[in-house]
Symmetry: C2
Subunit: 226 residues, 2 copies
């Protein structure tokens, strides 16, 4: 059985690399933008992801650990996700940025509750991008209003994004003991009995339901729930 801090470190590593990979991907997808103004919006979003990475990376370093070493185990999963979900055009890029950034924010807010105070504080600081991703919503809304066929294609695309994300999350949980323990509630920083484990496990089950509900709500709002 691994030590509790191993679970914490793995969780920080997942979140840190998720932000870093998001930075690279959003910066690259900005080239799909039809105008300079829109590519700047994507660059701003990419920059926010990088600032998140920087915050978490510095926190990992403050725990006496090299960020690269704790992120390395998660590179294949995130890169695989991004490789399998390359947007074919600007609108797919916007949906991906919006879906990905929103789920990441929700996920970070959910796990923040499980973390020691100093880590929690850092993770909570990374939940600030929603105002920057709103341009994606308004752009998509007006594009779908003028081209109704776009809606069906983007709805399928959004489902594929979530399917790939869940597949990668399951792969990660299976491969990484620390994360698996956390999900099962055995990675508390204080010794826990069976009952506390169940409660924490239950909370995480509920957290997953909440993540799904919030995503569904966003897709309904966009008119992409099919």
């Amino acid at each position: 059985v691994e030590s509790p801090s191993q679970a914490l470190i793995e969780l920080l590593g997942v979140v840190a690399y998720g932000e870093l990979a998001g930075f690279f991907r959003i910066a690259a997808d900005a080239e799909l933008a039809p105008s300079l103004a829109e590519s700047i919006k994507m660059a701003e979003l990419a920059d926010i992801e990088f600032r998140h990475y920087t915050l978490i990376g510095a926190h990992i370093q403050s725990l006496g650990i090299e960020p690269e070493s704790v992120m390395a185990p998660f590179v294949a999963a995130f890169d695989g996700y991004h490789e399998r979900t390359k947007p074919a055009d600007w609108f797919e890029g916007l949906v991906k940025a919006y879906v990905g950034d929103s789920i990441a924010t929700d996920f970070n807010l959910e796990i923040a509750a499980l973390l020691p105070a100093d880590s929690r504080e850092v993770i909570l600081k990374t939940a600030d991008s929603s105002s920057h991703v709103e341009f994606a919503v308004s752009t998509l809304m007006s594009a779908m209003a003028s081209d109704p066929r776009l809606r069906g294609r983007l709805a399928l695309w959004a489902r594929r994004l979530v399917g790939e994300a869940i597949a990668q999350a399951q792969y990660l949980a299976a491969e990484h003991e620390g994360l698996f323990e956390l999900i099962n509630g055995t990675a508390n920083s204080s010794p826990v009995g069976e009952e506390s484990n169940e409660v924490i496990g239950l909370d995480l089950g509920r957290a997953f339901i909440r993540l799904t509900e919030k995503h569904t709500h966003r897709m309904q709002r966009l008119g992409l729930a099919v």
Copy 2:
């Protein structure tokens, strides 16, 4: 004849889009990095370019002008440069980041002297990346030490980068009256006589020589001067 502020605006537009294009290009070239640690170094450099863009963009906005409109005329030249100088591997990417960032810093320092105080202050803030680009020097030094044939290839590459940059700069100066006036010293913010024009023109001629000398010095230091 265009108004003096047109020259200032064009100069700010060139510098702003140069930084923004640099951000996108360095972020993309980070994927050539052989390790996560090295791709993070490139991401950090890209982020600095984006912060420079943000500073200059905000300054342009404070002058009552949309940054996109003043950057738009320079998109083709910078994108053309980056399109024609795509690094074939990590080392070419490092040379490009180092050469490009260094020349941009020198150029910004040179033109800062020509600008009104508020613009000068902003441009001087963008001359802070040299410590972040030093990793490129040390990485290239040790790579060339273990593979001497690399040196010849990278020396040719560095020359090509500068050749393409000069070609684009000449194209820009020919296409953009405001910039041309500035280079000829007729775009001062106060009315100037023939004598002052000549002095400013002479300074800019010297500035170009200084830029070239500094570049040559950097290439000698790297062992890439051929």
